[in-house]
Structure formats: structure tokens, C-alpha cells
């Protein structure tokens, strides 16, 4: 057996780890363990000097296994694997011990956290001894892309790809493209016409020879893997099979159902309407109350269903600016009316937004505040002798005084939610949802449009509430990512797959029954099973089910995990 020469690197992560874990003691203590040639601590292992240190040590000390104890492998495993590669070592000769997310950040006793770090590293060291070189495999990429959702995000991605000469299949469940933007009149913050913007984009899509649009269609289940997916959709009552290399999910938003906030009487009080309904009023061109009169007082209420533990805890990010858009449109359509904007905080980040706020506040508009954490405003029908149709009662935030505001029309700034069917979509394409039911990106900062499923991207408001510019940026970013893989011609796929040892396999075919991807088949001729490593996604279920131990789950083999357990439990209690 080859000699194991292990290098261990314990990261301080500034003070993130070092404040709770005695990194120097851990690193020096490890020198006692067998096979450890180098053991060091360093301020920031992921920095260039940190990585260079590993590369130099690999070369100078002939290291053949590396352990880094630092943040979560979900954060930097790839970074360090690349460093190994740069040093000429197989990237899989690496293991990470998570002493930040799972240790220094969650514990309060330095001695205990230090002991835990030491144990986690000992586990990683025992495991890495059994690591084997794995060769990257790549498969050709089908240059077509499937886009689910034909709102502004889906449309933007489709055009970006098709204009680069690549085939796009655009699936829209409604009868028309355009999504929410088609329902808008003007757009904040620059008050441009939504229709001018979206209509010609829709036309461009419909006319594009490389974009095949499937209206009134939905996708159920996608099969395959990055570069080579397939699905069957129902279109015009016929089953159509599509093959594509990448997927963009752009299923968009659902406006919050205002009737859930009973205080506002939506559904009961006819002159209380939602922002989306008011967009239609604006598109129709005449602003009238339900009984056909011109309103003298129009009130707007922010944060409907947003920033509230009873509904959605998050901010919907666009409604403050949409409210200001409405204020401006109301001011020009009804110059004599009183406009009352009732908000909790005015969120006007983004290009042109603070400017819109400051311009609007010069326009003789009544801005009032309520406390979104206290009781929400209450809307009631005014009585006959009141000079208005509705009365809004609430406690003014700064004075703390209860006030009553007259209104003939109230516009509720409903927030954004994920669609009810987000879960089915997530399942169909194999991605996850966060607690608020938006799809999760691979990394919130460094990889905001990819997902943990290679080849599947999430863009627009299905990923989180956002405005049109942000939705379009994400869409085009995802398209660019896909174009890059198409250009490369091939993508590397999972190498940590399963493998059957034909000498041990008894042909019982238990593994075939448990594989969720039908990646295993039985050879009548050889009387043993075999894994198709292109289809296998490396879940490891067959490995833990095979009664003879014939299956090796690469990189998570039995011996690797059993050794990790031994390592974790190997060190003395006191330290």
C-alpha cells in the first residue's frame, strides 16, 4: 500500500473560528497522529496565500492527501479541490472538516468547541486515508434549453439564448406570454410603459425561428442529467417529447391574497382594491370608484401580507416603488384629489428609486406611517353623513396617536409569494425551496442563479421577490452561464457514482429495485448487475442496500465512512 502523506490545515477564518476554537493547539496536537506530515494553522485558508501554502507543501513535502478544517464544504470544497489540482494532485484526495458552521459559530464553550474541532479533523484524517483518485468524466451538451415560465424573466433568457443561435423550448401554462408585466400600466421607477416594453418582446419571441413556444402547457417531470435532459409535455392534447441540455425555471410570482388580512376588508368593501387591480384601472384610463364617481381621497397601504409573521416575514421589495408610481399616476390623473400614502418604512434602494421618492415627496402628497409590527390599520365603511366612502383607522407611528383617514378608494400594496404549485415544479426539476417557498440558489452570494442540480437555473421572482431589472439580469446571467457550457461542448458530471464489483455480486438484483434513476441493469450473460455511471447520481442507496457489499459508493465508500467514525471517536476525552 502506498505511503500516506497527509497535510492538515486549520483555518482561523479571521476570528470566526479562532475566537471559539484554539486553532494553534489543534494544529500542533495533530502532529502526533500517524501519517500527518504537515499540520498548520493559518488566518484565511481560502485566500490566495492560503491556497499557495497548500500547493507549495504538496510539492515540497510530497503530500498525497489534504485535509482543510475551515468552513462548510458547501462553501469552499471546490476551491480547495482546484488547489490540489493546481499542485498536480487528484482533486478527490481531499476532505474538509467543518469547524465553522458546525462548531465555532454554534458553540459557546471554547474548550468544548476546540475538542469538537479536533474530533472532526481526526475523522476527516481517517477518512482521507482511504480516498482514491477519481477521474472527471464529461458528456456532450445538448445545445437546446428548456425554459419554464414565459414572464419577463423567461422571455429575456429565451431571447438571449436564441439570439446566440441556440434552440429554446419555452413552456407557459397560460394562454399568453408576458406574465405579471403584461398586467402593468407604467413601470417604476422611470414610469415607462410596460406594454411597449413587453409587447415587442413577446412578438420577438413568437417570431423567433429558434424559440418554440408551448402555451397552455406545463412540465411534470424532467429526466436525465446536465447536458442531456428530457421531458414529455402535453401540448395541443398531444404528448410531445423534448430533449435539452439545460433548464431555466422562471415561474414567477403570485400576488398575495389580500382577503387574508381581514382588517382591510378586501372582498367585503368594494372600494378596497389590490395593486394589480389598480394597474388594470390605470390601463383602462379612468379612475372611478365602484359606484362610478371620481374619488376625492385615494389611500395606498404598504406591506400587505409582507413583513408580518402572520403572513410572510419577508419584504416584497418592489411594492414601495410601485406605490410611488401609483402616487405619481394619481397626481396627474386626479390633480384635485388628496393622495394619502400609508407606509411603514419606505424602501427605495436601487437605481432611480430614491430619486423617485424625493421627487414624489415634493408633490403635495400626504405621507403617513404605521407600525407594521403593531396592529395593522383597520378599514371600515364610512357612514352616510361622512364625506367619504371608507375610513382607515390606525396608530400613527411617530406620534403614537390613533388617527382616522378618509378615503374613497384604498389600494392595497400586496406582496409577492411563490406559486401554490412551486413544490411540484421543484420536484419535477429536482431543486429545493426555502422556508418561504422560493427556489433556492446554489449560493446566495457567489452563485445566485444556479441550483444544486447541475444544469438547472432559477431566475426572476420564483427565486425571491424582485423588480423587473433584477429579474432580467438574472435571466440573462443564467443564459450566459448556459451559453458558456454549450460553447465548451461538454460538461463534467458526477464522478462520485456507484460501481459494482462483479466478483462479489451474487446477482440478487436488490440494487436494481432501490435505484431511483434506474441506473442499474442486470446482465443475463454475466449474471451480475452493472451501474450506468452516466445515469447514476451517486445517492449511495444501492451501496447501503446490497447484501453482499459488492457496490462501492465512490468517495463515500464503506471503508471511508467506517474509518471516519473510528477517527471521530478515537481521541481522548480530556484535552
Amino acid at each position: 500500500m502506498e505511503e500516506k502523506r497527509i497535510g492538515v490545515y486549520v483555518c482561523w477564518c479571521g476570528t470566526n473560528i479562532a475566537a471559539m476554537v484554539d486553532v494553534e493547539k489543534v494544529a500542533s496536537g495533530l502532529k502526533e497522529l500517524p501519517d500527518i506530515v504537515v499540520s498548520k494553522d493559518y488566518k484565511y485558508m481560502c485566500s490566495d496565500p492560503g491556497q499557495d501554502m497548500i500547493i507549495q507543501d504538496i510539492k515540497n513535502h510530497n503530500l498525497n492527501r489534504i485535509v482543510v478544517a475551515a468552513c462548510s464544504p458547501r462553501m469552499h470544497e471546490i476551491t480547495f479541490r482546484k488547489a490540489l489540482e493546481n499542485a498536480g494532485l487528484n482533486p478527490y484526495m481531499f476532505e474538509m472538516a467543518n469547524i465553522r458552521e458546525h462548531d465555532s459559530w454554534v458553540h459557546t464553550n471554547r474548550a468544548e468547541a476546540t475538542r469538537k474541532a479536533r474530533d472532526l479533523i481526526a475523522g476527516a484524517v481517517s477518512k482521507v486515508k482511504w480516498h482514491e483518485s477519481l477521474e472527471k468524466r464529461s458528456v456532450p451538451v445538448n445545445p437546446a434549453t428548456l425554459i419554464i415560465g414565459g414572464g419577463i424573466a423567461g422571455i429575456s433568457a429565451a431571447l438571449e439564448l436564441a439570439n446566440a443561435g441556440k434552440q429554446v423550448y419555452l413552456i407557459e401554462r397560460k394562454a399568453l406570454l408576458g406574465g405579471t408585466v403584461s398586467a402593468l400600466d407604467l413601470t417604476s421607477p422611470f414610469l415607462n410603459s410596460a406594454r411597449q416594453m413587453i409587447d415587442h418582446k413577446i412578438k420577438e419571441v413568437m417570431d423567433h425561428r429558434l424559440i418554440k413556444v408551448y402555451l397552455n402547457s406545463e412540465v411534470e417531470q424532467i429526466f436525465g442529467y446536465v447536458g442531456n435532459f428530457e421531458t414529455t409535455i402535453r401540448y395541443n392534447k398531444r404528448e410531445t417529447r423534448l430533449n435539452f441540455g439545460n433548464v431555466i425555471v422562471a415561474t414567477g410570482l403570485k400576488p398575495f391574497d389580500a382577503s387574508r388580512v381581514t382588517n382591510y376588508g378586501y372582498g367585503r368593501l368594494p372600494n378596497v382594491i389590490t395593486a394589480l387591480e389598480f394597474e388594470q384601472v390605470l390601463k383602462d384610463g379612468v379612475i372611478l370608484t365602484r359606484d362610478g364617481r371620481e374619488p376625492k381621497n385615494v389611500a395606498i397601504i404598504h406591506c400587505v401580507g409582507s413583513r408580518n409573521e402572520d403572513y410572510n416575514p419577508y419584504c416584497s421589495r418592489t411594492c414601495c416603488m410601485v406605490a410611488l408610481k401609483f402616487v405619481n399616476q394619481l397626481k396627474s390623473a386626479l390633480p384635485k384629489a388628496t393622495i394619502i400614502d400609508i407606509y411603514s418604512d419606505m424602501r427605495s434602494f436601487g437605481k432611480g428609486c430614491e430619486e423617485l421618492y424625493s421627487d414624489t415627496s415634493k408633490k403635495n402628497v400626504m405621507f403617513l406611517t404605521f407600525d407594521h409590527k403593531a396592529d395593522l390599520p383597520q378599514i371600515r365603511q364610512a357612514s352616510y353623513d361622512d364625506p367619504c366612502n371608507l375610513i382607515i383607522e390606525f396608530k400613527e407611528k411617530f406620534s403614537g396617536e390613533p388617527i382616522e383617514v378618509p378615503a374613497d378608494m384604498v389600494i392595497l400594496m400586496v406582496g409577492m409569494e411563490a406559486h401554490e404549485n412551486a413544490k411540484q415544479v421543484a420536484h419535477g426539476v429536482g431543486i429545493s425551496m426555502c422556508g418561504n417557498r422560493f427556489f433556492i440558489e446554489r449560493h446566495p452570494k457567489l452563485d445566485p442563479v444556479a441550483t444544486t442540480t447541475d444544469g438547472v437555473y432559477v431566475v426572476g421572482t420564483c427565486q425571491s421577490p424582485k423588480d423587473i431589472p433584477d429579474s432580467v439580469s438574472q435571466a440573462r446571467a443564467a443564459a450566459a452561464r448556459i451559453l458558456a457550457t454549450i460553447l465548451a461542448g461538454s460538461v463534467s458530471i458526477e464522478v462520485t457514482t456507484a460501481e459494482v464489483n462483479e466478483k462479489i455480486c451474487c446477482g440478487c438484483q436488490t440494487c436494481i429495485k432501490v435505484c431511483p434513476y434506474s441506473a442499474i441493469s442486470y446482465s443475463q450473460e454475466k449474471k451480475v448487475s452493472a451501474v450506468n455511471e452516466i445515469i447514476c447520481k451517486g445517492c449511495g442507496t444501492c451501496g447501503s442496500t446490497c447484501p453482499t457489499g459488492a457496490i462501492k459508493s465512490k468517495h463515500f465508500t464503506d471503508i471511508q465512512i467506517l474509518s471516519q467514525i473510528e477517527g471521530l471517536m478515537s481521541l481522548q476525552e480530556v484535552y
Partner: protein, 141 residues
């Protein structure tokens, strides 16, 4: 009572490990007895991993996977669940209290649930005597 229990937790990469990471990024504090082993899916947790953990002296073993229906590989957690019931019976026969082995579902967004689970499981393991399995195996062999 066991003041210093040793607990091994097998977390699936996609939901539970990410949930535990979230507990970290949200700086939720919890008991420090748990040592995590990452597997791609709870379906990978081979019975021998659990037995080995007890043999090496673990006082408790926790397995966490995605909620039913949410497994990244569709159904690995169902396979795990089925195996879990058999395993509990099996460890009982070995003389290990079945409550030393727990299976729970933790999603990627459930950092709080993860930290609460660790605290609660740690308390329940602390309430038991230290596991004698390692010693009894050593005397046998």
C-alpha cells in the same frame, strides 16, 4: 446520567447538512456533543455505520434526511425510514436502548429545528447511563 455523551449524526448533504449549516450562519447556539458525518443522502446510511458508531463508543446516533417527498434523489429517505425501523429492533437485540437511535427530517431552511433537535436529543442521551457497548464488545473478544 452521562455528562459527556458522544453522539454521531449522519446528515444528508442536500437538506439536513445545509440546515445544520444554516444554524451556523444564523449563529444559533446548541449543545456541542454531536459530531457530524456528511453523506449524500440518508439512503446511504448503511446499517453497519450505525452499528459501528455504537461499537466505537457512541452514546447516541442521529440520522437526518430531507422531509418525506423532498429527497434530492426522490426516495432515499423512504429507504432510510424502512431500514431505520429494522435497525431499532436490531440494536435492541444487541442490548442497546432503541432511543439511542433517532431519525428526523430536517430541511435546508430548518436551522432552528436542527439546533433544537440537537439540544433535545443531547438531553435525552444525557439522561441515560453511558453506553457500555464498546466495553462489552471488548470483553467478548
Amino acid at each position: 446520567m452521562n455528562e459527556n455523551p458522544k453522539i454521531i449524526a449522519f446528515l444528508c448533504n442536500w437538506c439536513s447538512y445545509t440546515g445544520a449549516d444554516l444554524a451556523g450562519t444564523s449563529r444559533m447556539k446548541y449543545a456541542s456533543y454531536v459530531r457530524v458525518i456528511r453523506v449524500m443522502c440518508s439512503g446511504r446510511v448503511d446499517p453497519t455505520f450505525v452499528i459501528k458508531s455504537f461499537q466505537e463508543g457512541a452514546d447516541g446516533v442521529l440520522i437526518c434526511g430531507c422531509h418525506p417527498g423532498d429527497c434530492h434523489y426522490h426516495e432515499g429517505n423512504y429507504k432510510c425510514l424502512r431500514r431505520f425501523h429494522l435497525l431499532q429492533k436490531y440494536i435492541k437485540q444487541m442490548g442497546i436502548q432503541p432511543e439511542r437511535l433517532r431519525l428526523e427530517w430536517i430541511s435546508a431552511s430548518e436551522g432552528r429545528e436542527f439546533s433544537e433537535l440537537v439540544n433535545e436529543f443531547s438531553e435525552s442521551i444525557k439522561a441515560l447511563e453511558p453506553s457500555q457497548i464498546k466495553e462489552s464488545i471488548e470483553t467478548f473478544s
